[in-house]
């Protein structure tokens, strides 16, 4: 064969030389690559060492945060209204639980878990990462807790533990102000920049002050640092750091007054606001009916929640901030002030009240059949004469009226940091044209003069306005915090005009014939104020005839009862506004509630101080 050598030795003289040359080239390539690897190692192990050391430690150590104890919430006399209690609970550790169904069936024997809870636990458990604890949403009694503890040997992966959980001492009374805490949901987590909310078992404020001051209350979580393996199983504890519990928070509310107001409002769908007229500190803010915030803290059941939602008296609504009412006659002091300021009338201006007037074929009634006869300003406020105020409003015009009403901060939020707070509404001609696209009618001016029609206000706005009369015409900012730095600023009203109206208000409660005379206090300290009865719907003649019996109409068409007043009449300190929905006349329902609150404040707080 020519192609192949016939003897292996042949061709040796050239072949080895070819092979040698090629081998040398290959050896160079090997040197190069080994050099490259060496340089790469130098780069990784010397120049980038720090970066990789940090990454290695981050792999190696995991911090398990432990939620700190939430700050206490105290009333103005340091009574605890929200505190923390030891709770006995159990967690399941994923990865240590060998047979979830068995564990749940066994737990069920000791704890009587309800069916929904078991199903929820099963679905949630699947989503967990390995070795992540899952806290079962149930509080155990001491007996149950010790039973579980003594049966741990059959419950693989069950971890009993004691935790500090929020407890509200007066869950109904303070529900709308304090709010409640709960586990953060997806939304909460997304709105958060840092990972504080990812602390296992942490509860965050969901509503009210718990939400607004969440950061202050939540404290700083402690942590345990573990060495872990790649699967996340803790190998050993490296470090343990205690958390710092949240600061105790003192708020301006008065526990006793709050309890009293809650009791007095009773079965009404109502709200009451009490404040200090000089500092703006809110002393009581009650909205009824209420709900149990302790139930919310542990996740309320769906049927219970639905019941709250469906209730026509709206227990979930924070009525003193987010319910808007026609202020009714409680706005009359402001209308009178507007007329005085604009020099439309003076305090001696009189008008004849025949019981009703007619305008362009439409009839406008005074609340009192047959009318009040000839009344001056003081009598008009004292007796709450509607015809007098129709006339004043007509003379004043809606725009000048609206300007003064706005100066009392109607039409804007008062507390600012409560998301649910409503602004109310102060109508004028421009507003109606822009929003409704219609021209303003004179008839609407008339009913605006008695706080009906488009005008809307929240109870806290009404309380603030009466407080600003009480303190002699100074702006006061309502607040829940006892902050001494609040400075009083004069409103640009003539203080004589304020005095004229205050005298009329004093007469309304303390002189015979006044609308709230029946609720007056007899001691040497007295209160005064303006009643209001705001109509929810236009009254028919039949309704007027039935007026003696307000319950004749269906609930949602009944009048709202309002009262706004202050005390004591000399050197006033407290202002209170009460609104009771669909309950009838302000003088009959709202004024007595305010009266008993004033009674408490004057006798227990002012005289004792």
């Amino acid at each position: 064969m020519k192609f192949f050598k016939h003897r292996p030795t042949e061709g040796h003289h050239t072949k080895p030389s070819v092979i040698n040359r090629r081998k040398a080239i290959l050896t160079t390539a090997k040197y190069t690559f080994f050099g490259l690897i060496g340089l790469r190692l130098l780069w990784l192990q010397v120049f980038q060492r720090n970066k990789y050391s940090i990454l290695s430690d981050r792999n190696r150590f995991k911090e398990w945060k432990i939620a700190a104890e939430r700050g206490l919430i105290l009333d103005r006399f340091n009574n605890k209204i929200a505190e923390n209690r030891q709770l006995y609970r159990i967690a399941l550790i994923k990865g240590d639980v060998t047979d979830l169904d068995f564990v749940l069936v066994t737990l069920n024997k000791f704890l009587r878990l309800d069916h929904d809870l078991i199903e929820k636990t099963k679905t949630d458990f699947i989503k967990l990462r390995k070795f992540q604890p899952y806290v079962i949403n149930k509080n155990l009694s001491w007996g149950e807790f010790s039973k579980i503890n003594s049966n741990l040997f059959i419950l693989n992966g069950v971890q009993p533990f004691i935790s500090m959980e929020r407890h509200y001492n007066y869950p109904h009374q303070f529900a709308h102000i304090l709010g409640y805490v709960g586990s953060p949901n997806e939304n909460d987590l997304q709105n958060q920049q840092d990972d504080l909310f990812r602390t296992p078992g942490i509860k965050i404020g969901k509503l009210g002050i718990e939400k607004i001051l969440n950061r202050e209350l939540i404290g700083t979580p402690g942590f345990t640092r573990f060495e872990v393996n790649a699967a996340g199983r803790a190998i050993r504890t490296v470090e343990f750091v205690d958390g710092v519990s949240g600061k105790p928070l003192k708020i301006s509310l008065d526990l006793e007054l709050q309890k009293l107001a809650y009791e007095k409002l009773g079965r009404y769908a109502a709200s009451a606001v009490a404040m200090d007229v000089k500092t703006g500190e809110l002393l009581a803010c009650v909205s009824t009916p209420s709900f149990d915030t302790n139930k919310f803290a542990f996740g309320i059941t769906q049927p219970e929640f639905n019941e709250l939602l469906k209730n026509e008296r709206k227990p979930l609504i924070n009525k003193f901030l987010s319910a808007q009412y026609s202020p009714g006659s409680t706005i009359k002091p402001i209308i009178a002030l507007a007329a005085l300021e604009n020099k439309i009338i003076d305090q001696d201006y009189t008008h004849f009240c025949p019981g009703k007037i007619e305008l362009y074929g439409q009839e406008f009634y005074c609340w009192k059949d047959g009318g009040h006869g000839r009344v001056n300003l003081k009598d008009a406020i004292k007796k709450s004469c509607d015809v007098y105020f129709y006339e004043v409003a007509r003379l004043l015009g809606v725009d000048r009226m609206a300007e003064v009403i706005r100066k009392f901060d109607f039409g804007q939020v008062v507390l600012k940091d409560f998301d649910e707070e409503k602004k109310g509404l102060v109508p004028d001609t421009k507003w109606k044209k822009n929003v409704l696209g219609k021209p303003w009618l004179l008839g609407e001016t008339l009913i605006s003069g008695i706080g009906q029609g488009y005008v809307l206000a929240t109870p806290i706005q009404i309380c603030k306005s009466i407080a600003q009369f009480a303190n002699g015409g100074f702006i006061v900012e309502p607040t829940f915090y006892t902050d001494p730095k609040s400075k009083l600023k004069r409103m640009d009203f003539d203080s004589d005009n304020i005095k004229i109206i205050n005298e009329a208000l004093i007469a309304a409660t303390n002189e015979q014939g006044g609308t709230s005379y029946g609720s007056r206090l007899t001691g040497n300290l007295k209160f005064c104020g303006k009643t209001g009865t705001s109509q929810v719907t236009k009254l028919t003649m039949k309704d007027r005839e039935d007026n003696a019996n307000p319950n004749a109409r269906p609930y949602i068409y009944r009048d709202h009862a309002l009262f706004a007043g202050f005390a004591p009449i000399e050197n006033p300190k407290y202002a209170i506004a009460v609104v009771a929905e669909h309950s009838g006349a302000g003088s009959r329902v709202a004024a007595p509630i305010a009266s008993s609150m004033f009674d408490f404040l004057l006798k227990k707080r002012l005289q004792n101080a």
Partner: protein
């Protein structure tokens, strides 16, 4: 005179022992020792991984010695048989092999799993060495010899690629190309081949398995998807980088012992070694590998026949390819292909192949005077 024959045989054996290349044997033993230490440290002796590796190494070492004492002419004579036997195994495995991570690679022999694709690396070197030993030097670049060697290479390459086992297929091709280079195939073929591969890369990419595509994509974009396909490399780099100059110390590496580096005892074992022994240890290990390659090349130099020269150089190159691809992959210089670090990585067949290879190298030193 049976006694005399017996005695002379014993003398012959002793003589052979004395003629064995001690340096190479010592270096291989040192590598084996390091690998057992390293595997012990990975799980701090919690499993008997290190013990199993030690047994395998000892078994493979016995094979190495027996191969070394086998006459080189045996390998020369049966090179083709061996090649076709491996081809047969590669085809058989399509039907009876069982799957490791989705690829049919293993053949179960009860006590020992054999990966025929590993043996194919050895077979391709042997068969090419024998073939080119016969081809006259002036005919090396003729179409006929190129065609034959091309077919010899492509059959096992494609069979392994279809398993699919990209790493081993690349190594087979690499080892074969190394052999072709050494025997003097014209460099224009290499250059044009390289150009063809570059041009056809998009088409090759299109036929890849999804996970292979992923690896290629990840290689060009390493910080992407840190918990997915790139996880291995990132964790391996963390292990190496955090080792620093002197390492964290023996049994003190946390990356592998806490299971952060997957495959830490097989393909990514170097990451653990570098974490515990640092730059100094890594460079010493590199030096050891390089010395082994140099020693094998030296034995090729000393050999007096072309078959063993071609084999030694090719095997040295093959051994180098293992190290280069593995270290390139672990340090993030190359894409992740499943190539073990010779002897150091835990795994049966790869070690067996390399030890048989060393055996043949030793044998070619022992029988260097003999003509083929």
């Amino acid at each position: 005179m049976p006694d005399t024959i017996k005695i002379s045989k014993v003398f012959l054996l002793v003589e052979k022992f004395q003629k064995l290349d001690r340096a190479l044997i010592n270096m291989v033993l040192l590598l084996g020792f390091i690998s057992v230490l390293c595997l012990y440290s990975i799980d701090k002796g919690q499993t008997n991984l290190w013990l199993r590796h030690l047994l395998r190494f000892s078994f493979a070492f016995l094979i190495l010695i027996s191969v070394a004492f086998t006459d080189l002419r045996f390998w020369f004579r049966y090179a083709y048989h061996f090649y076709f036997f491996v081809l047969f195994l590669l085809i058989v495995i399509k039907f009876v092999g069982f799957s490791a991570k989705g690829a049919a690679r293993w053949l179960d022999f009860g006590f020992f799993h054999i990966q025929p694709s590993e043996l194919a690396k050895l077979a391709i070197i042997l068969v090419l060495a024998k073939f080119y030993n016969l081809v006259k030097v002036e005919n090396i670049n003729k179409l006929f010899s190129l065609l034959v060697s091309g077919i010899l290479i492509l059959i096992p390459f494609l069979l392994v690629l279809r398993q699919p086992d990209l790493g081993t297929a690349v190594l087979i091709l690499g080892a074969a190309l190394g052999t072709l280079w050494i025997v003097g195939v014209d460099r224009k073929f290499f250059i044009s081949g390289f150009v063809i591969v570059i041009i056809s890369f998009p088409f090759i990419f299109a036929t890849m398995k999804p996970y292979q595509k992923q690896r290629v994509v990840n290689f060009f974009n390493t910080e992407r998807d840190p918990l997915g396909a790139n996880y291995q490399v990132i964790q391996a780099k963390i292990g190496i980088g955090s080792g620093g100059i002197f390492g964290k110390g023996y049994l003190k590496g946390s990356q592998s012992s806490l299971d952060f580096v997957p495959e830490n005892h097989t393909d990514f074992v170097f990451s653990h070694f570098a974490e515990e022994f640092g730059l100094v240890g890594s460079l010493l290990l590199l030096w050891l590998f390089f010395s082994i390659i140099k020693r094998v090349t030296l034995i090729g130099d000393q050999s007096k026949n072309n078959f063993s020269k071609i084999f030694c150089y090719s095997f040295a190159f093959n051994f180098f390819l293992y190290i280069a691809i593995n270290l390139g992959m672990v340090t993030g210089l190359l894409p992740v292909v499943g190539v073990p670090l010779p002897i150091l990585s835990y795994g049966g067949t790869a070690m067996l192949t390399n030890m048989i290879g060393f055996g043949i190298v030793l044998s070619s030193k022992l029988y260097t005077e003999d003509f083929i």
